[in-house]
């Protein structure tokens, strides 16, 4: 079981790094929702089913939707960093 949890944590960290690294904001948001999803499964393993449900529905679901709405009204790509 602990091996599985370790795997989840590793996936979560990789997804967080991806969210930090992606130039494409949409990809970044999807990675972010993957982080929330993994966190929600980890919550379940930590014996917190209430929190797992809240995180899955609010964190992974609604948050992503709100982000996508916001991105659709602004710009999808991060601008180049090389100006400072």
């Amino acid at each position: 079981m602990i091996v599985f949890q370790t795997f989840l944590v590793l996936v979560m960290i990789v997804a967080a790094l991806a969210a930090a690294g992606f130039r494409d904001l949409l990809g970044s948001v999807i990675a972010c929702s993957l982080v929330s999803l993994m966190a929600s499964i980890i919550f379940y393993f930590l014996q917190a089913p209430d929190v797992a449900m809240a995180e899955a529905s609010i964190g992974a679901g609604l948050t992503t939707a709100i982000f996508i709405f916001a991105i659709s009204k602004t710009k999808r790509h991060e601008e180049n960093e090389k100006t400072d």
Binding site: A48, P49, D50, A52, M53, A54, S57, I58, G61, L62, A65, I66, F69, A70, S72, K73
Partner: protein, 239 residues
């Protein structure tokens, strides 16, 4: 410059956090053998677990903590969501809905029919989750979020539909008022805000837990309508 300062701050936070966690095991696990955990009446969490079932007749101890022992926090939290919904409306107020070329593209019949069929089922699941919040995992927040996801489906699937903002606002206000009034009745009856003044019934029954299910229903309606309002405001003019 900003980058260097940020990295410095990051290092400080990292070092501090790591230092704290170094002395493992931390938290409840670390306190397992210590006096604070062993004596039920000293530790918070232990006390709730061992006495909570008798005190509130509420099988889900987390619900009992959220709505009874720490119910005042929940009132604040519901207020915060209310503020966010209002603030979002205030900030986006008067924003011109840009005429978007996509608007002409109507959703296909299959999609919109599917959405209309699915919507009541999602509502039902949401309502089930918050009515059974005191018996099983879940509750007002989770159920409210599920209800909001139903509205999200409507927003995405049938573009023409607009939510009735007056009804949403009324649901928000009235459910918030219901929460405060239930709490104030406790103050009037037993001299203590949020007092569980109703008979608590038998554990595991649907009608148990006194005012806890009532408050969770109010929270469910409130969270559902507020999150739907947020979605409605943000998705208003999807380009």
């Amino acid at each position: 410059m900003r980058k260097q300062i940020s990295l410095l701050l990051l290092l400080i936070v990292a070092a501090g956090f790591a230092l704290c966690l170094a002395g493992a095991p931390f938290g409840a696990e670390g306190a397992r053998e210590s006096r604070r955990l062993v004596k039920d009446n000293v530790n918070y969490g232990r006390r709730y677990v061992s006495k909570g079932l008798d005190e509130n007749r509420c099988a889900n101890i987390v619900t009992s903590v959220v709505l009874n022992y720490r119910g005042f926090d929940t009132l604040g939290e519901v207020t915060i969501l209310f503020i966010a919904a209002l603030g979002l409306g205030a900030v986006l107020y008067g924003r011109r809905a840009g005429a978007s070329p996509d608007e002409a593209q109507r959703p296909s019949l299959i999609l919109s029919t599917g959405c209309r069929l699915l919507f009541p089922l999602i509502m039902l699941v949401g309502i089930y989750i918050f009515i059974h919040g005191h018996l099983s995992p879940g509750g007002g927040f989770q159920g409210g979020a599920v209800i909001a996801s139903g509205f999200l489906l409507i927003c995405l699937g049938c573009r023409k539909k607009k939510l009735n903002s007056v009804a949403l606002g009324a649901a928000e206000s009235l459910s918030g008022l219901a929460f405060v009034l239930l709490a104030l009745i406790g103050l009037a009856v037993g001299g203590s805000f949020l007092l569980n003044f109703l008979p608590t019934g038998k554990v595991y029954a649907l009608f148990s837990g006194g005012i806890i299910p009532l408050i969770y229903i109010a929270i469910g309606v409130k969270v559902g309508s507020e999150l739907s309002g947020i979605i409605d405001n943000l998705s208003g003019e999807v380009r």
